[in-house]
């Protein structure tokens, strides 16, 4: 079952993603109180056979808190305003 959403949807602009993983690090720190990208509710994965093209997706338990979008330095994640 999907996590109850706290905030507005987050739009993904993968072409702006530079692969810094700050979104995953911030997310894991918020949810798990520790750093580890594998514990994040957002997943940035390199496309098979690609160098710098990524798929960015949210896990079912993402609650749209927006911490990833607030801290993305490349504007690859933008949360809609209320």
């Amino acid at each position: 079952m999907d996590q109850k959403k706290k905030g507005q949807p987050i739009e993904i602009f993968t072409e702006r993603c530079a692969g810094c993983l700050i979104c995953e690090l911030r997310c894991s720190l918020r949810f798990e109180k520790a750093f580890n990208p594998s514990k994040a509710r957002i997943r940035v994965l390199r496309l098979v056979g690609a160098d710098t093209e990524y798929s960015v997706a949210f896990e079912a338990d993402c609650d749209n808190c927006g911490i990833c979008a607030r801290h993305c330095p490349y504007e690859a994640l933008i949360q809609a305003k209320k």
């Binding site: 810094c20 690090l25 109180k33 594998s38 514990k39 330095p73 490349y74």
Partner: protein
Amino acid sequence: MNGYMGRILYVDLTEGRTRTEALDPEMARSFLGGWGVNARLAWDAIPPEAGALSPENAVIIGTGPFSGTIVPGSAELSITTKLPLSGGIGTSCGGGHFSLMLKASGYDHVVITGQAAHPVYLKIHNDDVELLPADDLWGRDTYETVDALRLRHEPCSIIPIGPAGENCVGVSMTFIDKGGSLGFGGLPAVMGAKNLKAVVAVLGDRPLQVADRRRLTKAVDRMMERVKSYRLRPKLIEGGTFAMTVEWLSAMGRDRASWEDIHNAVRQALACPSCPMADKEVKRLREGEFSPSTAYMTDFMGQDESSAATPLDNHNRAVNRVAVLNRLGICRINFTNVLNLMVSLYGQGILTKDQTGGMEINKDYDTVLKLVEMTARREGFGDIMADGPLGAARRLGPEAEKQANHIKGCSPFIDPRPDSMNSMAFAQIVHPGRSNYACGGIGIYMQGRPIDQFVHHAERTGMSDESISRTFTAASFEVPWLTKHAEDWYSLFNSLGQCHRLYIHRFHSMDYFLEFYGAITGEEINAAELLRRGERVWNMQKQLNVRLGFGREHDAAPELWFEPMKVGAQELPMMDYYKQKIITRTDMERMLDEYYEARGWDRDTGAPLPELLKALDLDDFTV
């Protein structure tokens, strides 16, 4: 253990065995991590008598307490080994995702010894640590190796070697995840001699705890506000280091402005974990010569003729040359140095076609690429060039050796004659175990800056009032004293796991380091103590090399620096920073005396004095 994973992985390639040991908290505290703990581990792991290419040599990989966190630019990985070009123990540092991935699998350091019976790669994924066959990867270039291993192990990070490493080429280099250059002095050759094709860190599930999450995020947020408001950041992200140097290059008469459109059109910004600057890049050549192809660039200088083997007026050719070097795993700096010597010797008739196998040695584009390939494979004359600035010259006889441009067998990065004897040029000479300019300061130190900017930077980086008054006058500064401070500051970066590149370095300061360090580890220390630990790391690295027999005589500037450089009709002698005075041999000896005094090292031997080792709690590491 906040900030650390608390484990060291030991791998014996000969026996095919692995084991883990706890990271001693006291060792972590006193040597910080990364380069520092690597140096401490190297004291036990690399026997002084071990040859660089022998099974007894160790490859020591290290992350720092900042690695794997959100501290901006905290992706620096350090690798320490005995290097074939110098015979000294040196450390290389590079970016990429490896430090993040390794810590996520639960390790701070990896110590690899022995020699595998056949090609292998090391895969690390939590407690699943395996040596896997790499026969099918042997012979593949660095990009192909990364691509193949990504298909097997994503999400992961990879330290590969190319054909140059496999063939134990001294002028070799590797590239973490294709983009994080490291290995100056021949680290890939050490891996090749061990039959170790790659090290793969797979994203594990181990949590990295920090002492105070709120304090860390608050400090990072504060720095990120500064980063985001940096007026040149949009230009940097769009154009990379090229955008920051194009005007300067044009002013120097090199027509690079004409490249801007094509450069920006084929460029995609590439960031290491936690980095908001993304000044590395991937270039995709979609049309013209060498297209289609993809090339990773760590900076623009590799594409520029000032650091090139041959002048280039064609963008695609410039990019392709870097890609060929990187794929084969050849070090651009060391290779270019050897090539320059060979072209000169050939022109003088000291090197003849009898020795080159009938080849003409010149800087034509095709000739250079052919020589790169021959060097990487040790084919024909390339076997000689593979041995580096000093090694190659020695094989060609005493006259060639006399003309070799080297420091401890490695190429200098900076020739001070077109610029000046600044702290970065000087740092190359005194660096333990290899040559290295980056520890002597940041790029802005090279361009004749006014003295108040130096003082401001010294204050930001924690230099004490006493050191400031000893280093600076109203009109000038003592290069050896500034070098000492810059080195201690630099060793903090690499020990904490922090990137030292100019465009991220500019935001860091001692105050930020103390805040990040306190928030991550929970240990509260002041600037003097943190700098003291940087100094301890530096002296540990020094003692490793003193034990190998390195002394004052090895801290020598290349002979040719004392002759003016001829540029067209101009003659450029080596001058002091403000270009008031020519630096003579006597001046250089005086600078060395001053540097040893600043360091607390013996002027005659260049070794740390016993009282310094005691003061730094390094008296267990006397020679």
